[in-house]
Amino acid sequence: MMVAESCGRGDGTINHHKLTSLAEAIAGLVQDGAKIVLGAALENAVPFAATHELIRQGRRDLNMIAPISDISTDMLIGAGCVAEVTGAWVGNVSGGMGHNFRRAAENGQPHPIKINDYSNFTIGMAFFAGAYGLPYIPVKTILGSDILKSNKNIRLDKDPFTGEPVALVPALKPDVAFLVVQRADKFGNSHIWGSTGLTQEASIAANKIIVLADEIVEPEVIASDPSRVLIPGFGVDAVCHVPAACHPAPLIGRWQRDNAFFHNYHKETREPGDFDRWCDEWVRDLPDHAAYRAKLGGQLEELRILGDAPSAPANYATE
């Protein structure tokens, strides 16, 4: 979404489609050193296709911001793309620890990283404040935690109404947010369903939004249900049609979780050299996500959801 500074006249993008390749979107919108949200839905709808493309394009010094990132952040650390990690949890939900994250934090390999600790609710409040123009949010849920010692951005203060302790969480404003949606039109209007974690707040807080759509549909499909729109299409900067962009994470109604893939990643990235081999095979040696899908082949097809459990219709008729 555009920031105030870019609120100039005549950007005129709404009636111009924003469909582009993921490679072009990242080349155009993501700088070295950027603050990136790569999925904020927790363990579903993780934009792994963007993780791969950031590695392929060799972005450096990124600040990865997310409540929980599963192995996406671990991959980017291993590939040398990350300077800071801002969030509540980094690892491998299926396999345990993230080896690259540990190596970086414990031994500075492949390079040191700075860690900005948050709890899930406090990073939610930081995004909420960033999205809706609030300078900070006073919370109680982080009181007593040493996160107040490790993260100097959060300030312990007194509630001026009651004198009781509160922790002030300042607004977080990412540079770019990537999100995976079930369907979008070419103008950036989209539908998301299932649990969304912090997708709405993190995206609206961001300066730029890149949508990875599992399916591109006619604008009428999205317009048939404006209450299923989570972020406004007029704030979206690029729409990329990337089926299964979430793999190996699930996408509700579209793709099952590839649990074996997470386990294999855990086994196959135990040593730094292991990770490099894994990363060559699954990311660097592939030109794009279509090649990744082709390499997965039948393994991916088995995860495709073929059943139908449709929502009851909502009627928007006016008379």
């Binding site: 993008t13 404006p226 928007y316």
Partner: protein, 253 residues
Amino acid sequence: MHDYSTQELMIIAAARQIADGERIFVGMRLPITAYGVARLTHAPNAVGLFESGVARYEPADGMLYTMCDGPNQLGAAWTTGLIQIMGLLSGGRVHAGFIGGAEVDKFGNINTSYIGDIDDPKVKLPGSGGAPDIAAMAERLVIIINHQKHRLVEKVDFVTSPGFLDGGDARTQAGLPGGGPAVIITDRAILQPHGPNNEFHLASIHPGHTLEEVVQNTGWDLKSMPDVGETPPPSKDEMDALHHIDKEGFWRS
């Protein structure tokens, strides 16, 4: 007489305040009609925002009494909550907003709350709605009001929605982002802030009205901008767009 009504001229003047691609807090009645005209003429990519939780690319197809009516929601870009829509404003992502009021003063402060004393008001007006938020945070504010001496006053009894407050840099001192009121469109003239004090000056007089009349109907000592002239009358394209929207001639008289 002209081939347009005063209200039609006001709508066209308001439509000219919307640039292409902008996000605008539209409101109802005159401003929403102005938004429709702008969309059909020079601003086909303007997005209309409604504080109840609606964003639209196209103006509604059908009569609206309120922003919450069905036609304003069918086919919308987004139907959501108030926080999501007004949060765009708070986040500095809204270019302009339209608001009216019972009173506006020479620094563009607007009163929609109390006439007289707060604790014993002569008139209790309906209140602020989202106007203070819009006035505080939009890049610029467009004020629409009828030009009468008791409406354009030296100092409002109650600042519901802040303009330049006491003038000069008082607005900035109060911690307000947003550019403040950019224009007052009345049924007689257009006023704009001018000079370091940010006092509203006469910018143009509507065809058929006179300087003397405008000054007499203003509650402060209204000064003119250096290049004050006549408000440009509606073009044929503008009137065609307005008539396309206002098929029943609601604004024609």
